[in-house]
């Protein structure tokens, strides 16, 4: 029996285990939309902006570990996906983005709503396809999912002309992919692994630096074994949070610009760094020349191009974290680093990094802390970008992977609400808290309508400081408090919620916080709380841009120790 291209696409999605598509229709994808009702197993969620579809697919993927799928029409639909695709690319999120394209005879003629979306997305996808023959479609879908989820995961885009959706052919789903140019290295080189084991056994002050690669490769157990066997402290990147239980005695939190002072001290004083599934982003390393100056560095990553890209590496191991750690664990012996761990504990006592200052006012950190307490830590937290993001990383403790969902590499404001929506769709039985900035949420606020229409019970906490807070913080610290273009006179978020059809509360004082949170949790559906917090609270600790990790500013009362202007060219918000 012959199937249309649209049917073949749906069949293939089912074969890949797809359950939900976040999408938005338009002219060239009409044949596909017209076909969707034949496939009731595929839930389609109508977003309000295609950027929301891409972020939702990404949030879904980060919460479930599955490949997220988004769908858009040609032209503006496709370009609206671009930010979300770039976001997934920089954070290695497995995603398949499907776009409609003008019919083949119109390609290249600037037809109505034609854009070269494969050209546009070359630098922000792992790979992309323009399907010019319906006979290629099944293979392309197979390859796309394979590419998206294997190796270093990432987004893959499939562009399908309207007439290809309509054309018919036999449907045969390939069993295997044949991609001669794509062979990710899974097993680490045994000699290198041996060298690493030896370095670990010789090390006096080792630190494991764990990133999102651990989560993507499902290597949390192996990581734990490595850390416990050799009693090595573990610090993480922002995206690595949760790959190692933060309540573990060997956990010393997040490093980087707003990392824990003691985590940054640990890295700065280590004699061995075992970096796993992370890519030495400048937000994590601080000034590269001052990064881990006393340490030899083992770098385990599946992407050979990451090795030696930003930081010199002494022992590279290319391979999948799970496989490499399994082998490494066979060679690593029991050891104690009593003195070293004690030193880190002392640093932690002396520089607690997450003490909330005394204040009568409602502090943003307090709100996050109370969300942690009220949920008992049992929640998926999806953050915006900026101060709210850093406080969510600092004042909530994550014991499991996939519980902190945040836009790391691209730092995309507007990620929070749609990503939270995607996470909740993927994990309907879990509590999902969207901790948003008053700026960021306004970038994709229309997804409140999706949330209501589809009954997606996301709890939303807006950290409303009336500012583009993180940018204001930089103006405060480095531009003599000239708050240019950062004050926001926000809308009435409670009325906004009401208008979209979900309940909302405004909270202005400390004592209202817990009752409001409990009310939100008890409510069966989506709920929004507008927390009107101290407007000019800054995020600390902070390593100023251009400084080394050891140069942490901790005391909010003190101005940065550096008097000279920081190297602002080296970094951006």
């Amino acid at each position: 029996m012959k199937l249309t291209g649209a049917q073949i696409l749906c069949e293939a999605l089912l074969k890949e285990g797809v359950e939900v598509i976040f999408g938005f229709p338009g002219g060239v994808v009409l044949p596909l939309y017209d076909t969707l009702p034949q496939y009731s197993q595929l839930r389609h969620i109508l977003v309000r902006h295609e950027q929301g579809a891409a972020h939702a697919a990404d949030g879904y993927s980060r919460a479930t570990g599955k490949v997220g799928v988004c769908l858009a029409t040609s032209g503006p639909g496709a370009t609206n996906l671009v930010t979300g695709i770039a976001n997934a690319y920089l954070d290695s999120s497995p995603m398949v983005a499907i776009t409609g394209q003008v019919a083949r005879p119109f390609i290249g003629k600037d037809g109505f709503q034609e854009v070269d979306i494969t050209g546009i997305t070359v630098p922000i996808t792992k790979h992309n396809y323009l399907v010019l023959d319906v006979n290629d479609l099944a293979r392309v879908v197979k390859e796309s999912f394979y590419l998206a989820r294997t190796g270093r995961p990432g987004p893959v885009l499939i562009d399908i002309p309207k007439d290809v959706f309509i054309e018919q052919t036999d449907f045969r789903y390939p069993e295997k992919v044949d991609l001669p140019g794509y062979k990710p290295t899974i097993e680490g080189h045994p000699t290198q692994i041996k060298k690493a084991a030896k370095a670990i056994s010789e090390s006096k002050r080792p630190v494991i630096l764990a990133g999102r690669g651990i989560i993507l490769s499902d290597a949390c157990e192996e990581l734990k074994e490595l850390a416990e066997t050799s009693q090595m402290p573990v610090v993480t990147t922002l995206l690595g949070i949760g790959c190692f239980p933060e309540s573990h005695v060997l956990s010393f939190g997040m490093i980087g610009m707003h990392g824990m002072a003691y985590a940054n001290f640990a890295v700065s004083n280590a004699d061995l760094i075992i970096a796993i599934g992370m890519r030495f982003d400048d937000r994590a390393t601080g000034k590269v020349s001052a990064f881990a100056p006393k340490a030899r560095i083992i770098h385990i990553d599946i992407d050979p191009a990451e090795i030696g890209k930003n930081v010199r590496v002494d022992m590279p191991i290319v391979g999948d974290a799970k496989h490499v750690l399994r082998e490494l664990n066979k060679l690593v012996g029991r050891r104690l680093h009593v003195e070293w761990v004690k030193q880190l504990d002392t640093w932690r006592e002396e520089h607690p990094s997450v003490t909330i200052r005394e204040s009568e006012n409602l502090l943003p950190q307090f709100v996050v802390r109370k969300i942690y307490e009220v949920t008992g830590g049992e929640a998926i937290v999806v953050t915006g970008v900026g101060q709210n993001q850093m406080w969510s990383a600092q004042h909530f403790w994550y014991d499991k992977p996939g519980k902190l969902i945040s836009s790391g590499g691209l730092g995309t404001m507007g990620f929070e609400l749609p990503a939270a929506m995607g996470a909740k769709v993927g994990c309907p039985d879990e509590t999902v808290w969207c901790i948003a900035g008053d700026g960021g949420i306004q970038m994709t606020i229309q997804e409140l309508a999706t949330i209501v229409q589809e009954n997606i019970a996301v709890k939303i906490a807006i950290i409303n400081n009336g500012y583009l807070g993180m940018v204001r913080q930089w103006q405060d610290l480095f531009y003599q408090k000239r708050y240019v273009a950062t004050p926001l006179s926000g809308p009435d978020f409670v009325k906004i919620a009401e208008a979209y059809g979900l309940p909302g509360l405004r909270v202005k004082t400390r004592r209202e916080v817990v009752p409001a949170l409990k009310k939100a949790m008890a409510y069966k559906g989506a709920f929004l709380i507008d927390f009107q917090v101290e407007p000019e609270e800054n995020v600390y600790p902070m390593v100023p841009p251009g400084a080394g990790l050891a140069e942490v500013i901790e005391d909010p009362q003190k101005k940065p120790a550096r008097s000279s202007a920081p190297d602002l060219t080296a970094s951006s918000i």
């Binding site: 494969t118 630098p123 790979h127 001669p180 140019g181 191009a305 030696g308």
Partner: protein, 169 residues
């Protein structure tokens, strides 16, 4: 730091857009292409690119690794320090008067180049060889006035039985 020209031989799947993918990668990461030459390889559906890049050792290593990540790139070898045959072809249209014509022909002979077109006021010279040979001929001909010049960019294969980026391991 070591700054050297590297010759990369890249075997790619003959898919539409592959040139764009490669070019996009070079542009985005700020790598400089000296020359790039593309054509069909020994197997159907595969093309061989010869790319000459300039850069410090680390940069070229990044180029290689980033190229390898492209799904349509099948194999890459850096043949800079291997015994290789490299060839480039150039067509040079040089001004020729009755007085200069003979001298040009002599130079062309010395370089074992060919005259492939003759007009009243110009000669078109075809020359193949490695980049240096082409450079020297072009320099000599500049004195007569070059009206048009077109170079193919370098192509290269390793000598003998060693192979550069073939589909088999």
């Amino acid at each position: 730091m070591d700054f050297q020209k590297h010759t990369l031989v890249v075997l790619v799947a003959d898919k539409p857009g592959i040139l764009n993918r490669v070019a996009s990668l070079f542009r985005r990461r700020g790598f400089n292409i000296d020359s790039i030459a593309v054509g069909h390889a020994e197997q159907p559906n595969l093309s061989r690119m010869t790319i000459v890049v300039g850069g410090a050792e680390g940069t070229v290593e990044q180029v290689r690794k980033q190229l390898a990540k492209l799904v349509d790139v099948v194999r890459i070898s850096d043949i800079t320090n291997e015994p290789v045959v490299t060839r480039e072809l150039a067509l040079i249209k040089v001004k020729a008067t009755a007085a200069s014509r003979n001298e040009i022909i002599q130079i062309v002979d010395i370089f074992r180049a060919n005259i492939v077109d003759v007009a009243a006021d110009s000669l078109t010279v075809e020359v193949t060889g490695d980049g240096e040979k082409l450079d020297s001929l072009i320099n000599l001909l500049r004195g007569f006035g070059i009206k048009e010049l077109s170079r193919t960019g370098c192509i290269a294969l390793t000598r003998g039985t060693t192979s550069s980026a073939t589909a088999e391991e």
